[in-house]
């Protein structure tokens, strides 16, 4: 018995269109006509068509083949990205099927990130919609360069050539700004199957390929093979003392034993000794191969480092300009530290400035203070350490990243690096002769930050004041940073929105850090409602230098005390964004010290704090 031929090649593409353009029907048609719909699925489809179908009695509703989740079937909408598979004699296809409704930006970006080509649906009766422009823009942003515009429902416009020609001309004019390498317009009817897989007599005036034929022949420029070699290290393979290999996927170029390579960000150079796989050593590894490299020298190398051609290294930087697509439910807060991940490479990143957002409809820049879910923006990012990278247009793996919220662990954004900021390369830290240790020694103390957090009226300032008095009396060099006082000076430009609160804490944390370097014991008394920012402050300092003190008093108690009359005002609606009332307070999960401020007099609580400092050898 002869084994039927295997498809040899793989194409990943994305389909997009507005709701009801016929996308599900079209994909169903592609599956159906490539005979991938099997009998049991077909009988389930007949059953479903009777129950949920929209194509009328007796007819198969091919859209139901691809609408996966029951919630979707009931509501008749597609919620998320779904992946479909079919193959012809020449190619295997992976289709990212993305929905056309409101959350399209987020889902489309996801689907487009791995796609090499896009099929954009246009309803012939409606011609180009705002949605078509949006989808084209997102496809272009995520780096897709080959696009087929499927002008669908040609049956409903009498197979009229002039209608098709008008849409094709309109699209060509619109798309000139998007940088696609190839655009083809194909008239089809997903409902009847004309020109989807089979050429159509109804469309005899059309001379180009059917949609399927185009999918089988499109040649995405994978051009990665002739680029310089790059491999991010995923895993250090060390089964014994005698073997140390670096496992990863080659993301550009090729490599052979003997090739000189550099390890980034350190910049150390060595050469490749072996390319190890379970099938034996290779003479060459190419882009997309998953291999394990053994290097000629003992070099210091960890997950997230990049091994690259020594003669053509990627840049290393800690500040970038990038496009961001916001995916999270909560908006972007400039200044808040997020985790950034480029493949296996991880760091902590803050958005320094949000330059503007971009209208997906017009592609024009719009002034913006924040990014909400599905917004696209241009920003500058600052990382806590330099990482190897390439612009996204050159390499998706070294230029594409995600941002992760450090509290919820949700993936909140994806981004594409445009370029590194020059200033990062040019500002070098000044090496100073008199350092922190020297200043601490001169003060004969262990500098640190006592960070008091808690609701307004919990007693932070009172406690900080009592503790400082005692330290001062005993000769320690101290400084107090109080929320209200700092807001009168350094932070007087800031209000009480979430974004401003983040910036408020960022500045105070930086000031506190400078004071620790000056050798002081710093008492910070700020509501500091968010865990993320307290964590940021902690990470600015060295291990043991940050003492978080949670001044824990129930809201009712604080509100009853109301020393400054603020709760009354907030309840009356005169103070928007007041912590505890209409703005959240996130209590610490692992504070060094929790003081129950409603249960004992302040003097006793201050004593507890002083005893703790004594135990820790601070004072």
């Amino acid at each position: 018995m002869a084994v039927p031929d295997q498809p040899t090649d793989l194409l990943r593409f994305i389909t997009c269109g507005s709701v009801d353009d016929g996308k599900s029907t079209l994909i169903g048609r592609l599956l159906y006509e490539s005979e991938l719909v099997l009998d049991d699925h077909l009988s389930a489809l007949e059953k479903d068509s009777r129950r949920f179908g929209t194509t009328g009695a007796g007819a198969l509703d091919l859209a139901l083949l691809v609408d996966g989740l029951s919630a979707e079937r009931e509501q008749g909408i597609t919620i998320d990205v779904a992946y479909r598979y079919f193959a012809t004699a020449t190619r295997k296809f992976i289709v990212a099927d993305t929905p056309g409704h409101e959350q399209y930006t987020r889902n489309m970006a996801t689907g487009a990130s791995t796609a090499e080509a896009a099929v954009l649906l246009v309803d012939a009766r409606k011609s180009l919609l705002v949605q078509t422009r949006r989808h084209s823009f997102i496809a272009s942003l995520l780096g897709i360069r080959h696009v087929a515009v499927a002008v669908n429902k040609m049956d409903a416009v009498g197979w009229e050539r002039s209608i098709f020609d008008r849409i094709a001309a309109e699209y060509a004019a619109f798309a000139t700004r998007l940088g696609f390498e190839e655009i083809i317009c194909i008239p089809v009817s997903a409902l009847t199957g004309d020109n989807v897989v089979r050429p159509s007599d109804n469309l005899a005036w059309y001379e180009g390929p059917t949609l399927m034929r185009w999918l089988e022949t499109v040649e995405p420029s994978r051009g990665r093979a002739d680029r310089p070699f790059r491999m991010p290290v995923q895993w250090v393979c060390r089964p014994s003392q005698d073997f140390r290999g670096f496992a990863g996927t080659v993301v550009a170029g090729s490599v052979r034993p003997g090739d000189p390579v550099a390890v980034l960000p350190s910049g150390v150079t060595t050469s490749v000794a072996r390319i190890v796989t379970m099938d034996g050593d290779l003479r060459e590894a190419q882009a997309e191969d998953a291999v394990t490299l053994v290097l000629s020298d003992e070099v210091d190398l960890a997950r997230g480092d990049v091994i690259a051609a020594a003669g053509a290294r990627p840049e290393v930087s800690d500040q970038f300009a990038a496009h961001l697509v916001w995916l999270g439910e909560a908006p972007l807060l400039p200044g808040r530290p997020y985790l950034i991940r480029f493949g296996p490479t991880a760091a902590v990143a803050q958005v320094m400035t949000l330059k503007h957002s971009i209208s997906v409809n017009t592609m024009e820049p719009i002034a913006a203070q924040q990014l909400a879910m599905n917004d696209i923006g241009v920003c500058t990012l600052s990382l806590d350490r330099p990482v190897p990278f390439e612009p996204y247009a050159t390499n998706r793996d070294l230029g594409g990243f995600i941002l992760i919220d450090r509290q919820s662990n949700a993936t909140v954004a994806c981004g594409m690096i445009d370029f590194a900021l020059r200033r990062a390369a040019n500002i070098h830290r000044q090496a100073l002769k008199v350092d922190k240790a020297a200043r601490a020694a001169a003060n004969r103390q262990k500098p640190c930050v006592l960070w008091f957090t808690g609701l307004s009226g919990a007693g932070k300032s009172t406690l900080a004041d009592l503790v400082e008095q005692d330290l001062h009396r005993r000769g320690y060099r101290t400084m107090i940073l109080d929320g209200d006082n700092v807001r009168h000076g350094l932070n007087r430009d800031l209000g009480f929105t979430d974004a401003d609160r983040v910036e408020n804490i960022r500045r105070v944390a930086e000031v506190a850090k400078l004071m620790v370097e000056a050798g002081l014991i710093v008492l910070v008394s700020f509501i500091s409602p968010f865990r993320s920012e307290r964590q940021m402050a902690r990470e600015l300092l060295e291990e043991g230098e940050f003492v978080e003190i949670y001044v824990d008093a129930p809201l009712e108690v604080c509100e009853a005390r109301d020393p400054k009359g603020l709760y009354r005002k907030a309840r009356a609606g005169q103070l928007p964004n007041f912590t505890g009332i209409d703005s959240a307070y996130e209590p610490p999960l692992a504070a060094e010290l929790v003081v129950p401020a409603a249960e004992a007099p302040p003097e006793e609580l201050a004593d507890r704090i002083l005893r703790y400092l004594e135990e820790r050898g601070v004072a």
């Binding site: 084994v3 996966g68 989740l69 779904a82 970006a109 662990n409």
Partner: protein
């Protein structure tokens, strides 16, 4: 000669990449091993991912006690053949209550002996990442599954609250008690699996190859009489037919197909002509529409 076509090589590399991400991002991963063909491929790819080091995680088999005997024999030979650590877990409480597919029906049996058993085992060993061999082409609700699929402390899957997954950047960050299910074979089809088994010479359970076996016909399905725990209906007598299995599970729940395909080449040729999907022989998917989706939400693989 290179037996893997370029498209199999791309699938292989992608799976290896996923394995390395799971191992690097989790503290206590485990490979869920179900003895079938997908598990055979999964295990083969795992070994490739970490070669020359041994697997950085153990294998876990959830034993319902109703697997085919040949499956268990294949499983038990594995640790020695490949030098691996294999854990086997059975829901002892379910066993004590005598839960079985005949008297309790396939739904209860699957829930108690598979879904609950899996949750028990994950909690018992404290695994924070479980690697499975599910493929997106198997079933509709799987088409939207992520490669790194986030599960709550209660092991639940929420299809509306999944992390967006871009490029090949996987977010495996979790809080204490939460976990990740990872699916390195997401983009493989049944055909790819067999082509790869043929190209790489991967051993699989002999039940996949046709041979005369004792079967009875029940509601249009051929059920193999694998041991004497199977109650026969009055007048029902096993007949010897040349059959094979396209998927393997609990024998009372797994339908055989009549076939003469006794070699890999014959299986692949037969599949190219096949007009029914592999899961059709699986009684558990047919209990009700959307049953897989519901089971997944409850923590089933």
């Amino acid at each position: 000669m290179e037996a893997r076509t370029p498209h199999l090589r791309r699938l292989e590399a992608e799976s290896i990449h996923i394995f390395r991400e799971v191992a690097a991002q989790s503290t206590r991963p485990v490979l869920l091993y179900s003895i079938g063909k997908d598990s055979s491929v999964l295990l083969h790819l795992a070994r490739k991912a970490f070669h020359p080091a041994p697997l950085p995680f153990p294998l876990l088999h959830i034993d319902t006690t109703w697997k085919f005997r040949e499956m268990i024999a294949f499983r038990d030979a594995l640790p020695e053949r490949l030098g691996l650590e294999l854990l086997v877990h059975t829901n002892e409480e379910g066993l004590r209550q005598g839960v079985n597919p005949f008297t309790h029906g396939s739904e209860t049996h699957t829930d108690v002996m598979k879904t609950q058993a899996l949750r028990q085992a994950l909690d018992k060993y404290g695994f924070d990442a479980a690697i499975g061999g599910a493929r997106r082409d198997e079933e509709k609700s799987r088409a939207k599954e992520r490669i790194f699929s986030f599960r709550t402390v209660a092991h639940r899957w929420d299809p509306r609250n999944q992390r967006p997954e871009l490029w090949r950047v996987y977010n495996g960050r979790i809080a204490l008690g939460e976990s990740i299910r990872a699916f390195p074979l997401s983009n493989w089809t049944e055909r790819d699996i067999w082509d790869y088994i043929a190209a790489e010479g991967i051993p699989v359970v002999p039940l996949y190859f046709a041979k005369p076996r004792p079967v009875v016909r029940r509601s249009g399905t051929l059920i193999m009489v694998d041991d004497d725990r199977m109650p026969l209906n009055p007048g029902e007598a096993p007949e010897m037919l040349s059959v094979r299995f396209r998927t393997l599970g609990c024998y009372p729940l797994t339908g055989a197909v009549e076939s003469r395909a006794a070699t890999l080449e014959e299986i692949i040729a037969e599949m190219a002509d096949a007009r029914v999907s592999e899961r059709q022989g699986r009684l558990i998917d047919q209990d009700q529409a959307a049953s897989m989706e519901r089971k997944k939400q409850e923590g089933y693989f």
